[in-house]
Amino acid sequence: MPASLGSQPQSKAKEPVLTPKLPPHWALGPAHLAITAVWVMIFLLFSYLPLRSTDLWGHTLWGQWILEHHQLPTEDPFAPLAAGMKVVDSAWLSQIIFATVERSFGPVGLSVLFSTTVLATLLLLARSFYLQSRSSLLMMLGVALVLIVGWSRATTLRPENFAALAFAIMIWFVTGSLFSTPPSNEAREQARPRSNLLLWLALPALFCAWANLHGSYLVGLAFLGCIALGTAIDVGWRERSFGALFKSADVQRWVFLTELCLLATLINPYGLELLTYNLTFAANPNLQNIIEWQPLVVLGIGGREFALSIVLLLILWRVSRAPVSATQVLLLALFSFAALKSLRMIGWYAPVFAWVVMPHLSDLWSRWRPSSAASQAAVEPVAVAAEGEPAYQLPPGRSFHYTLICGLLIWVGFAFSPAGNLLLGGKPRTDDKLFDKQSSPLKVAEYLAKNPPQGQVFQPQHWGDWLVLRVPGIQPFMTSNIHLAPEQVVADYERIASAQPGWARVLDRYHVTTLVLDKEAQPIIVQAMKQATDWALAYEDDQAVVYVRRQPAKSQDQKPPTETSAESLPGGERPDTRGEMP
């Protein structure tokens, strides 16, 4: 830290002059203060988001299972109806991380893990945007674009967060390689991309880790593939020669890098099977009814943001003088197609979109604010000699005061965050603030923990993991691992959840003894249960309702089928329909 700030009067030469120990570029300005404040706010925002239980608890449970059994599960350990369904645990490393953090710090630890992972991801993306634009403002604009376009995927802790971090690291490496940091045109001409050795070692290592953290490493490979192909197209177009692209060192580098990264992903417990599993995962029919796997709808989740991004892109491409490279076109085509096809891909589209538009934003910025380049150059400190010692002159507008305030701001942000609470001590967040109430119902879980249900339970799929976590020994009908459930089970779940004809007989078929229902998300079955005479209301609060089977025999609409009555089964349920798909 500086002993004193700024330069001292020169009148008394004998008086000791305190000179800063930090180099001048540590002196910050108002813009840095504003940026720091934004980052602190982002960190606090994500720190105080409640933990949503999409599949977080499922992964945590799996991690606990792996740590306890010292092996990867071959079947879903927590879903009895999925017995015999083969598991390829593509997120085993993330699960171990979740379980270890949860075991060491409790759920608060997971919250801290979430905010720090998101922060790290955004910081790395910001660094990439800065490398592209040389502008702090555009850097922050890029981060804002990522958050706005990808918000629907940003608020949940899941293994995908580690993958997003890996994606950001990859983009950082790629950006560093494609966009160097030349201060001048002369230097730019002589500049070399980021150290090749680092790229050749770090990227494969990153992909190796990524493949064990989450199945989305294919997204990273697709990104690299687009760069390789885009570079080849650009070289071929520029040289007007097909043969030229084979001679290009850039093309060769990106092709080999992509291949090397692909090879690195094979270092996992399943080898090549993981790759084929991930390639075919989206074809799992059970995913068709899951919103995040459905096509993006303009007026649905993430749709407006996506549409807005496309409009912005078209405008930018229209007015920007920066060249539109084949890589940009390929990346946008691939990732926007993926987002349109599957809503969950918008989380990957958002940073790609920001990365692609950044050079165009930068071009516009430099045209509209030409003075910015001069002011950038002025940031360089100027050393002034004074009495044999180098004097210290800070760039205009810079001061270590700002540095101190920025540091203080960061400290305050940390101290007020759950991470600060964890390390410095403090009043922990209460459960109702820590957990997302909608996906992690506290009261009904508490009731069930005190009154553990025996036998098969039917419960909302989105509560499955949470109830398994909080109610020891519970047998959920369906958990977040829908892809592991037999299709018939998924179809029957839908039939019960929406009280389709024959739903009560389906409950009998699975010998369901307890129903746990979400009053808001499952109003139809909740209403139907009020008329069900064979079920007794055991618990109700503002969010959930629990019914237990009054007598474990016939359901109220059941007439046991006989060999002559089979054609006229009640409720339209016909025994000849094997699938009974709703």
Partner: protein, 428 residues
């Protein structure tokens, strides 16, 4: 300041030939690896290795007090199969085939032999002879990409329950290579069995006959994969059968019990013959315990006259000796409950008789009730109740250590088949 992408030289460049060759090599290896991965057989097949001849289960008890020779002959005589032209229900034919077996032959006009019945089920021209245009519109057998599907619940020319027809054909010993003729051309019985495998889901509505089909053809293999990717074995199937409460399932849950007994019998046979049981000791014990519980409920709920109704699992005796019009307590319901209970008990492995079977007086009372009931039925009532009666009649024969075709019938002009004469089952 605007930074633009570099396309500067990234170091040394490989000669074009080497670069292209390396890419060809890498691509070749990748294609070969992925191809190998997809071409490699799955760890478990959806259709496991099957035995051509199904496992055959013989009768094991002979208790004359349940039904005398004379009573048995009289009762079965009344239950001969009859064709009623295009109005004949397929579920009557497959029940009759299972009841009388493939070896049955009758001299009376209108009573098809076992082989004739099998031909109606498996030979489209013969099926058309019986049903005419109605049969052409709704054929029983449909060719599908995964085998031959037996139509279910689409009218009288189709089966009544999922895989019932196939299981019935299996029970009477139809080998997989038995020729089948559909509207689309020739095939074999294997095609029908294949379809049972490729369409099976552990949680499907009706599974009793699918499990029986598996038990007849799969051993000694014990594990395979369903179309849903679920690895299943006979333990899982047994637990699935036991999962639901009684009297859920077809015929007041009795077919589930029969299926469990078939699993026990096959398990016993495989253990003795090839030392390869199909059930784990744990699940075997669970099944025995489950059946013991069912027997206790049946014993507790038997009417003094010997019958049961839908309420058999509750352990409550029917209040009225005369059939009522209450659903589950009509005469047909009593025949269902009583005939099926006697049938699954009759197939209980001899080694487990002491553990599972009820006291003898329970069996005797039930047997006599069936005899008396059939005797009182009018000729018009018998076709109405035929499918239920087929189980009751078969049960009576089994309790005398015989299959029905081995029982001499009484009516003049009706002779036992020659095959039957040579094939009397030994009475233990």
């Amino acid at each position: 300041m605007n930074a633009t992408p570099h396309h500067a030289a990234a170091g040394r460049t490989l000669p074009v030939t080497i670069f292209v060759l390396s890419q060809v090599l890498i691509l070749g290896v990748a294609v070969a690896a992925v191809g190998y991965r997809f071409a490699a057989p799955a760890e478990l097949a959806v259709i496991p290795p099957l035995r051509n001849e199904p496992i055959h289960l013989d009768p094991v008890y002979d208790i004359p007090a349940v039904v005398s020779d004379e009573q048995l002959s009289e009762t079965l005589t009344r239950l001969r199969p009859r064709l009623e032209g295009p109005d004949t229900k397929i579920n009557h034919i497959d029940h009759a085939l299972r009841f009388w077996d493939i070896k049955a032959r009758f001299t009376e006009a209108g009573c098809p032999s076992g082989e004739e019945m099998r031909q109606i089920l498996l030979n489209y021209p013969r099926f058309l002879q019986l049903y005419g245009r109605k049969g052409a519109e709704t054929a029983l057998l449909m060719n599908e990409p995964d085998g031959i599907r037996v139509r279910v619940n689409e009218g009288i020319t189709t089966s009544s329950h999922v895989d019932h027809t196939v299981a019935s054909l299996a029970e009477v010993g139809t080998p997989l290579d038995f020729p089948v003729e559909t509207a689309a051309g020739p095939g074999t019985f294997r095609d029908l069995v294949d379809y049972v495998f490729t369409s099976f889901s552990l949680n499907q509505v009706e599974y009793e006959w699918s499990v029986m089909t598996f038990a007849m053809y799969v051993p000694p293999t014990t594990q395979w994969r369903t179309k849903e990717g679920q690895t299943i074995d006979f333990d899982m199937l047994a637990r699935r059968v036991m999962r639901q409460e009684q009297p859920q399932g077809v015929c007041f849950g009795n077919h589930r019990l029969y299926t469990l007994v078939v699993l026990l019998r096959v398990d016993e046979q495989m253990r003795k013959a090839e030392n390869s049981p199909i059930l784990s000791p744990e699940v075997h014990a669970e099944v025995v315990s489950y059946l013991q519980d069912m027997t206790q409920r049946l014993v507790a709920s038997q009417h003094v006259d010997g019958f049961w109704n839908i309420d058999w699992p509750k352990g409550e005796k029917p209040t009225s000796a005369a059939p009522t019009e209450v659903e589950g307590d009509r005469l047909s319901d009593r025949i269902i409950a009583t005939g099926h209970a006697m049938e699954w008990w009759a197939m209980v492995p001899q080694d487990l008789a002491d553990e599972i079977l009820p006291p003898r007086h329970v069996l005797v009372a039930a047997g006599q009730w069936i005899v008396n009931t059939v005797e009182k039925l009018s000729d018009e009532d018998i076709p109405t109740h035929f499918t239920f009666l087929s189980h009751a009649g078969r049960a009576l024969a089994l309790w005398r250590g015989k299959f029905p075709y081995q029982v001499p019938l009484q009516e003049p002009g009706v002779a036992r088949s020659e095959a039957a004469k040579d094939d009397d089952a030994p009475a233990p």
